[in-house]
Subunit: 105 residues, 2 copies
C-alpha cells in the first residue's frame, strides 16, 4: 500500500470489561470502511492492554464522509456506551514514507 | 498525552524468523528515544503477524535528529540485517485529535 501524500487516522483504544459483540462489530465496520470512497488501507493490532488501528484515506473529505456514515455512527455510539474504556483518534497527514523489504534467502 | 499540532512516526513491521535479541534491543531503543529532545510519547502493540509502533514528536527536526542518532542507527542496521522481514515508516503531521474517556461507574 503506497500511502505517501494521503491521510491516516490513528485510533488507539482500551476496551472496557463489556466486550460482548465487539469483535463481530469491528469486523463488520472494517468491511464497510473498505467499501468507502477514498479508502486506501487498514492495519490493526490489539494485545491485552492496548489496540492500535490505522486507516488510510485519500483525503480529509473522505475521512469526514466515513465519520458521518450512519451505520458507522451507530457503531461509534455503541462503542462509547459499551465497549471502550477510552480511545484517542488522531487525524494525520502522511508527509513521507519509507519501506524496507528483506530479500528472500 | 496531548498530541495535536505535533508529528507522529508510524512504524509497522513484520519480524523475520531470527528474533534473538530483538525484545531487549527494542526496550533499549525505546528508553533512549524517551530521552531525546522533542519526544512526546510512544505506543506499541505486536501480535503474531504485525507490529505497530507510533512515536510522537514536537517537530520534524526532532525526528530527523533521532533518526541520525548513532546508537539508533546501529539498531536500524541490525534490524534490517536480522530482525525485520519488512517494515514501513510513515512520517505524519497530526492535524487534529479527539479523545474519549468512559466515566467511572
Amino acid at each position: 500500500m503506497n500511502t505517501a501524500d494521503c491521510y491516516a487516522v490513528i485510533f488507539t483504544s482500551t476496551l472496557s470489561r463489556s466486550v460482548a459483540g465487539y469483535a463481530e462489530e469491528a469486523d463488520a465496520i472494517e468491511a464497510l470502511a473498505r467499501q468507502q470512497p477514498g479508502f486506501l488501507g487498514f492495519e490493526s493490532v490489539r494485545d491485552e492492554s492496548l489496540g492500535i488501528s490505522i486507516s488510510y484515506w485519500r483525503s480529509e473529505a473522505d475521512i469526514r464522509a466515513w465519520r458521518h456514515n450512519s451505520r458507522h455512527q451507530l457503531a461509534q455510539k455503541r462503542g462509547r456506551q459499551q465497549w471502550y474504556q477510552n480511545y484517542h483518534i488522531r487525524i494525520c497527514r502522511v508527509e513521507r514514507d519509507y519501506q524496507f523489504q528483506q530479500e528472500s534467502d
